[in-house]
């Protein structure tokens, strides 16, 4: 213990220390990154994650401010608290990055994802698929005699759950947008 009787520094895990990296808690965080909408900016962000060995669970990007040429990148990532801090600091140092928000710690937020499901089937399976879609508030956006395309918006977990239910009923294709997220309130 420090002679100063102050909280002493903790030495944390690193690649040079052959401890099990899984021994520390892995957290999932949703980050909102506001960037200049210029060529190569997404490559910089993705390159940072692959180059430094960080995880990307989900990533969405679109221009959100046409006049200011700003895009919003929403990234869901996993890591130890120290790695999450590094990810934020590393993102913040990319020159065209304006702001980095950690929606997971900055207060309550809403997260939504949009998904499209193509389900093919006949008879009871087709009726069951339609019934479940109603319960999940999924819309039918295309239908043929053998198939439906459902559209659904919700938390990623809800989309996972719906996909699990559709699989035995003839799910053949899924398209997901990845998570979009905003802090609640003003």
């Amino acid at each position: 213990m420090s002679a100063l009787r102050l909280k002493k520094g903790l030495s944390k895990h690193s690649a040079y220390d052959l401890r099990d990296p899984n021994a520390e808690v892995i957290e999932s965080h949703t980050l909102a990154v506001i960037v200049d909408n210029e060529a190569g900016v997404l490559a910089r962000v993705i390159g940072l994650f692959s180059g430094r060995g960080y995880n990307i669970e989900s990533l969405t990007v679109a221009e959100v401010d046409h006049l200011g040429h700003l895009s919003r990148i929403t990234i869901v990532t996993k890591g130890t608290p120290q790695v999450i801090e590094q990810i934020k600091a590393q993102l913040g140092r990319i020159v065209p990055v304006h702001e980095v928000h950690d929606l997971t710690v900055e207060g309550p937020s809403v997260e939504r994802e949009l998904a499209l499901f193509k389900v093919a089937g006949q008879g009871d399976k087709r009726i069951e698929a339609l019934r479940l879609a109603e319960i999940f508030r999924a819309n039918v956006v295309d239908s043929t005699l053998e198939s439906f395309v459902f559209e659904m918006t919700g938390m990623p977990q809800k989309i996972d759950a719906f996909a699990d239910l559709m699989r035995p009923l003839g799910l053949i294709e899924v398209a997901r947008t990845g998570v979009a997220a905003l802090a609640r309130g003003t």
Partner: protein, 584 residues
């Protein structure tokens, strides 16, 4: 008033407005319009290197020895790819460099055109930022912004890729004052509350230490002056990383020498045993920390750094202070003085007594020889014979680099140029050329190993052409010495491919370029030979034949804590366990 001109003219105009005096470069098809403009003016000097990697290292040497950004101009494709090692080196060591590359015309990008390479793609991870300019109207502003990004915050290399049609086309020139710098504005002032807490800790600390790094030199001359004042006023001991040597004078009595893997015993033990560690512009590199779990286990740690990603990256600190060293030290000194300049005198006296004990170990001692030149001896003599000169040292990478850090003394910043983070063999020779370009009358010496030196030996041509009297002081052990040392310690003395065979006759090599060559193998002749090198007005290759199997000590084996250090004469057989062997 906006002026209309071609893109190529704009490049030269923008460089001039940025105060650039020297450009290191190599021409090719995609930069011919810019070379044509360079031909038609006399303000900016162009130094023709013999390989683009060398252009970047020369620019690094220029930058590190002046505090100004270094500028490089190369062609597309192979010109750009040859620059990649230099860019990575500059990124790792936080050196401000602006690299201009030519590119195939915009309408040919993506067609696998002749000498096309995805330069911004390739250099994205090895630059602080890079730009592909597709519109001549944006070119001058982009260049001004590039200088801003390279030199502010944590400095680093930037690259601007300029297609050939953009160089030919006309556009309007924007001067630096009117250029839009964007939102990039790093924070320089530290948080006053945190600084005050650091002052409180300094007042109480019984075993404090300053651990300084390259960031002090990056910050500039004000930072080194303030550091000096702070160290003298508090009486705290100070150590530095390889990158920070010279920020505090080696002749100062608070100086403990370099720390880390090949650092001094007293510096490493003081780091291990301190109760307050004040990190100023150093990044807790793995050459410093050794085994993280045992790194300075009982200390409170403060870290002043301009880059948020450096703080808490590998070592968790108690007092993080985000800001520029000079700004933070100014506030720190003011607050410490206003609170009565307090330090824990009793604690400090005991702490110094302990440090004096550690110093008695004399960790740099080596077995002298009257028959062969010991590399340490060569550097001691070089130090003694050059210390009163206006002297700049560059190095290559290996044992000689570590011995140079241990045995040469630096009393001022920006006098020591070495490749620390990337450890690039081949750095030192071109860097010495860049340094000499900035300091025409100074004594510039590259302390080299023969293997590293061969990696950029083509630069003899550059040194001769531009009358740059750089001294290449080669400690020739006919071995890849640092590799050989690790094989001795880690791989059962199986010396796989770690010797230099078919070496040239360095004296003849010098003569072939029209330079002077000196060879020395007898310790008795060494002083005269070094004096001959110093007194020769022109480039010299000094082939110093040294002991072939000398090991560099002290050494903290990878993965070991600071207090488990190997000293000279230690039993080196299997000194590093299996756990250490997987690390680099």
């Amino acid at each position: 008033m906006t002026k209309s001109m071609t893109g190529a003219r704009m490049v030269v105009e923008a460089l001039r407005d940025q105060g650039v005096e020297v450009v290191f470069g190599y021409p090719g098809g995609a930069v011919l319009p810019i070379y044509d403009e360079i031909f038609q003016q006399n303000e900016i000097r162009h130094i023709l290197v013999r390989h683009e990697q060398a252009a970047v290292h020369a620019a690094e040497g220029y930058a590190r020895s002046t505090g100004k950004p270094g500028v490089v101009l190369v062609t597309s494709g192979p010109g750009a790819t040859n620059a990649v090692t230099g860019l990575t080196d500059a990124l790792m060591d936080s050196i401000p460099i602006v690299v201009l590359t030519g590119q195939v015309p915009t309408f040919m990008i993506g067609t696998d055109a002749f000498q096309e390479a995805d330069t911004v793609g390739i250099t994205r991870p090895c630059t602080k930022h890079n730009w592909l300019v597709k519109d001549t109207d944006r070119l001058s502003e982009t260049i001004h912004k590039a200088f801003h990004v390279a030199t502010t915050g944590r400095p680093g290399p930037v690259l601007i890729d300029i297609p050939k049609d953009v160089q030919f086309a006309s556009g309007s020139y924007t001067d630096p004052r009117r250029s839009e710098m964007g939102h990039y504005k790093p924070q320089v002032k530290g948080d006053i509350e945190m600084i005050t807490r650091l002052v409180e800790a300094m007042e109480q600390a019984r075993r404090p230490i300053f651990y300084t790094g390259g960031g002090v030199i990056n910050s500039g001359d004000a930072a080194t002056q303030l550091l000096h004042e702070l160290v003298e006023a508090t009486g705290f001991p100070i150590t530095s990383t390889l990158m920070g040597l010279g920020a505090y004078p080696a002749s100062g009595d608070k100086w403990l020498g370099m720390l880390g893997m090949h650092g001094l015993y007293e510096a490493n033990l003081a780091m291990h045993g301190c109760d307050l560690m004040i990190n100023l512009g150093a990044r807790f590199d793995d050459r410093i920390t050794g085994r993280l779990a045992d790194f300075s286990p009982n200390s409170m740690k403060a870290h002043v750094d301009i880059d948020p990603s450096s703080i808490n990256k590998v070592i968790h600190v108690d007092l993080p202070i985000l800001g520029d060293i000079a700004h933070v030290l100014e506030d720190l000194l003011r607050i410490w003085k206003s609170r009565g300049r307090k330090v824990n005198r009793d604690g400090l006296a005991k702490w110094w007594a302990k440090i004096e004990d550690w110093k008695k170990v004399d960790c740099l001692a080596y077995a002298p020889s009257s028959k062969t030149i010991k590399p340490q001896y060569a550097l001691q003599r070089l130090q003694a014979l050059t210390k009163d000169h206006d002297r700049y040292i560059t190095t290559e990478v290996g044992q000689h680099q570590m011995w140079a850090a241990q045995f040469l003394h630096f009393d001022a910043p920006k006098r020591w140029m070495t490749s620390g983070g990337l450890g690039t063999m081949g750095y030192g020779f071109p860097a010495s050329i860049g340094v000499q370009m900035a300091h025409r009358d100074a004594l510039v010496i590259n302390v080299a190993g023969e293997a590293s030196w061969l990696m950029n030996m083509q630069e003899m041509g550059t040194a001769m052409q531009f009358n740059l009297p750089v001294k290449q002081f080669i400690l020739n052990n006919e071995r890849l010495g640092m590799v050989r040392q690790w094989q001795e310690l880690l791989h059962g003395e199986r010396y796989s491919h770690s010797w230099s065979e078919s070496l040239p006759d360095f004296v003849k090599l010098a003569e072939a370029f029209g330079a002077k060559g000196i060879q020395c193998h007898d310790p008795a002749d060494l002083d005269d030979a070094i004096m001959e090198m110093i007194n020769h007005d022109g480039p010299v290759i000094f082939d110093c034949l040294v002991e072939k199997h000398e090991n560099c000590f002290p050494m903290i084996p990878s993965g070991a804590p600071h207090n488990e250090m190997l000293l000279g004469g230690a039993d080196t057989q299997d000194a590093i366990g299996a756990k250490g062997a997987v690390m680099v």
